[in-house]
């Protein structure tokens, strides 16, 4: 696993505005203006947040020079989210299965 890239990703995710932007993009692509709408900050400030997300590989931007719509890069986010929860989920599943295994052993 590329730990450096993950660090960049998690640094990008550590800001609530950027997380809100990602949540918005999960519902569909959006332009900077659309993304800036719900926030009490300038379009420029939101644009900076988008650049951070872009560098982290979480967001990609379209080629349309005027609109430059942003799109969620699902794979990068999935890797980041997967890292947080994946380890716990691995063991939770395993321990459930261990319970099944032990129950069978005792019956037999």
């Amino acid at each position: 696993m590329a730990t450096d890239q993950l660090s960049t990703t998690y640094a990008a995710l550590s800001d609530p505005t950027r997380r809100a932007i990602l949540a918005r993009l999960a519902d569909g692509d959006a332009t900077v203006n659309q993304l800036a709408e719900p926030f009490p900050m300038s379009v420029q400030a939101v644009s900076k947040h988008i650049k951070v997300l872009e560098r982290a590989g979480l967001v990609a931007r379209g080629r349309d020079a005027q609109l430059r719509p942003s799109r969620l890069e699902a794979a990068a986010l999935e890797e980041a989210a997967g890292w947080l929860d994946g380890y716990r989920r691995f063991w939770e599943d395993s321990f459930d299965r261990l319970g099944d295994h032990l129950a069978k052993g005792c019956d037999g």
Binding site: R19, E78, D85, E92, G99
Partner: protein
């Protein structure tokens, strides 16, 4: 910057402590429960030298043939009470972890298993986790999972 993050889980099993210990330390038994649902372990891939410094390795496989090797070293082996397993980052799908599993005989044929993992992470990752990012990520995770399932069904 490397930091450690703790994850703790406790389970109680309706089985004697020796049974739970055997499930952790006998290759054929471990292979029946190890891993996420949807994955299975070929017992032939399991290597277990259950003593301090001994090697613990196996390979899991899912229905689509994706293989996930894991490799670790036993740090402490106190039968049937305690196992400490060191999983270095280089040999695993995660960033490295030290896991401690403690088995307590509850005296009525049941066993309490306490699992504690100290996971290598970075400062940013730890802060993010502490900052309550979970809700947003959960929602996004649901979205991503839904997308993935849709793709699988249409495939």
């Amino acid at each position: 910057m490397a930091e450690r993050r703790e994850i703790a889980m406790t389970r109680e099993y309706d089985a004697p402590r020796e049974e739970v210990w055997a499930a952790w330390t006998e290759p054929a038994r471990l292979a029946t429960w190890w891993g996420k649902r949807g994955w299975h372990v070929d017992p032939a891939t399991v290597e277990m030298d259950v003593r301090p410094g001994g090697r613990f390795a196996l390979t899991s496989e899912d229905a689509r043939g994706n293989r996930m090797p894991q490799s670790a070293v036993y740090r402490e082996v106190v039968a049937p009470e305690r196992l400490v397993i060191d999983e270095p980052a280089a040999d695993n799908w995660h960033g490295g972890a030290v896991t401690t599993v403690t088995f307590t005989d509850l005296g009525d044929g049941r066993t309490r298993m306490e699992f504690r993992a100290s996971i290598a992470t970075t400062e940013e990752m730890a802060q993010t986790a502490a900052g309550g990012v979970a809700d947003t990520l959960d929602r996004l995770g649901e979205h991503l999972t839904t997308t993935e399932h849709t793709e699988e069904q249409s495939a």
